[in-house]
């Protein structure tokens, strides 16, 4: 669980919302009290590589989420690895520092 952590964005899949080098704050706390909602940017664990990645929630089906990058022509997301179980969501992006 992440109380509050600072992350630097690496890569282009969330352009234009997040640029490489942007700093953001991520926390697990919001999802203790409510479920993830559409259009929220989440930090998740890639089901395959286990890397922590940032994506936007595009669809929700029970405890499964369909996530996608804001730059779809340059994003590795649910179109490739499919729906993601809720347990793979680490936290919600709550603030962009830069």
């Amino acid at each position: 669980m992440l109380l509050l952590s600072r992350f630097e964005v690496s890569g282009h899949s969330m352009v234009p919302s997040l640029l490489p080098g942007d700093e953001i704050l991520v926390s697990s706390i919001p999802y203790l009290f409510k479920s993830p909602r559409l259009n929220e940017i989440v930090l998740l664990s890639d089901p395959h590589s286990k890397k922590r990645m940032l994506k936007r929630i595009e669809q929700i089906d029970g405890d499964r989420l369909y996530v996608k990058g804001d730059n779809p022509s340059d994003s590795h997301d649910s179109r490739h690895f499919g729906w993601v179980l809720r347990r793979f969501i680490i936290g919600k992006m709550i603030y962009k520092l830069s």
Binding site: R6, F7, V9, S10, G11, M53, S73, D74, H76, Y95
Partner: protein, 169 residues
Amino acid sequence: MVGLFKKLFTLLPHHIAYAHCDIPCGIYDPYYAQVAGHTVLRMTNLILDRKASGGNPPFQERKEIIHDISRFTKVKEEHAEILKHEIRVIWGDYFKEEHIKEYPHLHELVFSIMKLASKARQEIDIETANELLEKVQEFSEIFLKTKGVTPIRVPSLYPTGLDMVVYSK
């Protein structure tokens, strides 16, 4: 006040969050598949054009013919495989569902490229090599359209005398 909070937040431990596509990051180009297609066609032509001086050529000439045909065949084999690899990577890694919706025959096109490339390896057939190149050009045009540019065919300047698909903005 906001500035103070921001400064406080920068004291938090720093991590990396990946927003990557895949590796290599968005760098795809059907250029190499086209070059390989031209090479397969050129090698097929060279094999067919290599003739003996008569019905029973001397040993030295036979050695030279075997040598040349071996080289042409080796390069034809290699480039047919390069072509298949390049097309597979773009098809598997670059193209996504929304592209398939727009170009529903893409899977069929890739399948036919794979089959033609194998046939071009197995046989010495100009028609197959030409058809293979034509399909790769069609694939290249679809790729470029998904990039929002207009594909055009220009003379390749290769000995095949056929075109390369490039784009104009």
